[in-house]
């Protein structure tokens, strides 16, 4: 009885630690703001500008915290204030569930792809709630654009999740599929990363295109397009509530990068123990940085914005078939 109780206690303590400090909470906030800073700096250097300092996102958050909060008279006040909180907390919880190769194996029994499929759209939901409740026509436009894009980019995400699950499950000999992230990572420790698996390469490409799609950068800067809908759902926000949205976007960036790393290249650099954890953590951050450069920074430096219908059909025509091809091949080679 006591054993069970202490087991539950340590498990829940572990979960609380994971959500508040590492790998969720403080760690993910710091990493997210750092990645945002690197993104802005590198983009500036690519455009031959000097660019803001690396810690500029932190300054922005501090600045927004000191500003006045304005809520439009016609807005639905409750939903307007709930939206950023909902998005930020949803993302912080998601970040705590993601395992990091060689560092952290996730909260026991929760590192599941199905749960992630439910948690990943939460920031988009938050933005939609924000756009809908702000009573601004631009907010409403942002709302509808966000929703359209979500329908478009969820499809390749689900298909590449399934492709990975079928590939890993099929190789396990059970003939089924595996939806547990730690098990997927264990498979890659044994058989090498899925990134170098020719069958999974199209799915990896699809996920690479999903990242700018969900972050709204480059070609897919459609829901928050500044010159078109003036940042859409964020238009009416000011002060701390806007800061919450910026934090949400930073954490979401970490979440999607970490998810892609966990699915396709989670392998640690050295064995755990004797400070190996720190090396592996740095290695993990390096992988996130490289992925950020490829899928967000260089992508948005090189491309302009698509129209909503073009963005939608891009995912339907090119990205989804890539992921579906992987899924089909994984089924055939089971």
């Amino acid at each position: 009885m006591t054993n069970v109780l202490t087991g539950i206690l340590t498990n829940s303590l572990q979960a609380v630690f994971a959500m508040l400090i590492f790998p969720g909470g403080l760690f993910v906030l710091a990493l997210g703001l750092f990645l945002k800073g690197v993104d802005r700096k590198v983009l500036a250097r690519l455009q031959r500008r000097v660019g803001p300092p690396l810690y500029q996102p932190v300054l922005d958050i501090l600045k927004l915290a000191t500003k006045e909060t304005l809520i439009p008279d016609t807005a639905n006040e409750g939903a307007f204030q709930l939206a950023p909180v909902l998005g930020l907390t949803g993302m912080l919880v998601t970040a705590a569930l993601l395992p990091i190769g060689g560092v952290w194996n996730g909260v026991t029994g929760l590192g599941d792809l199905l749960i992630l499929l439910y948690l990943l759209p939460i920031p988009a939901m938050g933005l939609m709630l924000a756009g809908g409740s702000s009573s601004s026509p631009y907010g409403a436009l942002g709302f509808s654009r966000e929703m359209c894009m979500m329908f478009a980019y969820e499809m390749p995400l689900i298909a590449s999740f399934l492709a990975v699950a079928v590939r890993v499950g099929g190789a396990g000999g059970s003939g089924g599929s595996l939806l547990s992230l730690p098990a997927i990572m264990d498979y890659q420790y044994l058989h090498g990363p899925l990134l170098f698996d020719p069958v999974m390469l199209p799915a990896a490409l699809a996920l690479l295109l999903f990242i700018p799609g969900t972050m709204g950068s480059g070609l897919f800067d459609i829901p928050e397009a500044e010159p078109e809908v003036i940042e859409g759902p964020l238009l009416e926000y000011s002060g701390p509530l806007l800061a919450a949205f910026h934090l949400m976007s930073a954490v979401k960036l970490v979440v999607v990068l970490e998810l892609a790393v966990a699915l396709f290249f989670p392998n640690p650099l050295v064995a755990t123990g004797d400070g190996g954890v720190m090396v592996n953590l740095l290695w993990h951050i390096c992988k996130c940085l490289v992925l950020l450069m490829v899928s967000v920074t260089c992508f948005r430096a090189a491309t302009g914005r698509l129209r909503l219908d073009q963005g939608f059909s891009f995912f339907v025509k090119y990205t989804s078939p890539l992921a579906l091809a992987s899924l089909g091949l994984a089924f055939l080679l089971r």
């Binding site: 500036a44 000097v50 803001p52 500029q56 922005d60 600045k63 940042e231 926000y237 806007l242």
Partner: protein, 151 residues
């Protein structure tokens, strides 16, 4: 502690442009400060934002024509405190070459307090950036005032 917060916070001035009937000359020069690598206003932590609710520093250009006056005042009131205003070009101060025109009423500073004035027709990008930096000084003082009053 609060002083430090204000000092750090004042390094992230977000800029909003209001065109109060300008001939577009000053607006082109303002865009130059953001878009041309040589000037790059982003290295000062600035960001041009599309929504008045995100702004800290307001750049106003143009002589405030009668037609846009109420709209400009409405947009100005939507900017959250603390904020500073920079008048870009001679038009906001005196009406410039549009002075005494049929569509130009009183000068902007009858309606909106102007904190920094950047004269010129149009002013050079360097002058606009200097104006922004001066405005940030004023803004920092206001930040300290508002943060200390709240606590």
């Amino acid at each position: 502690m609060l002083q430090l917060l204000c000092k750090l916070a004042s390094r992230s001035p977000w800029i909003y442009r209001i065109n109060a009937g300008s001939c577009n000359g000053c607006d082109v020069e303002m865009a130059t400060t953001a878009l041309i690598p040589r000037y790059d206003v982003e290295r000062l932590g600035c960001k041009y934002c599309g929504s008045p609710r995100h702004a800290d520093v307001v750049l106003i250009s143009g002589p405030l024509t009668l037609r846009v006056r109420d709209k400009v005042l409405r947009v100005y009131n939507e900017i959250p405190h603390p904020k500073v205003t920079v008048a870009v070009g001679v038009c906001p101060v005196s009406g410039g070459c549009f002075r005494d025109g049929y569509s130009v009423g009183a000068d902007i500073d009858h309606y909106i307090p102007l904190d920094v004035i950047v004269p010129g027709c149009p002013p050079r990008p360097q002058a606009i950036m200097e104006g922004i930096l001066k405005a940030v000084e004023v803004w920092r003082a206001r930040l300290e005032e508002s943060v200390c009053c709240h606590s």
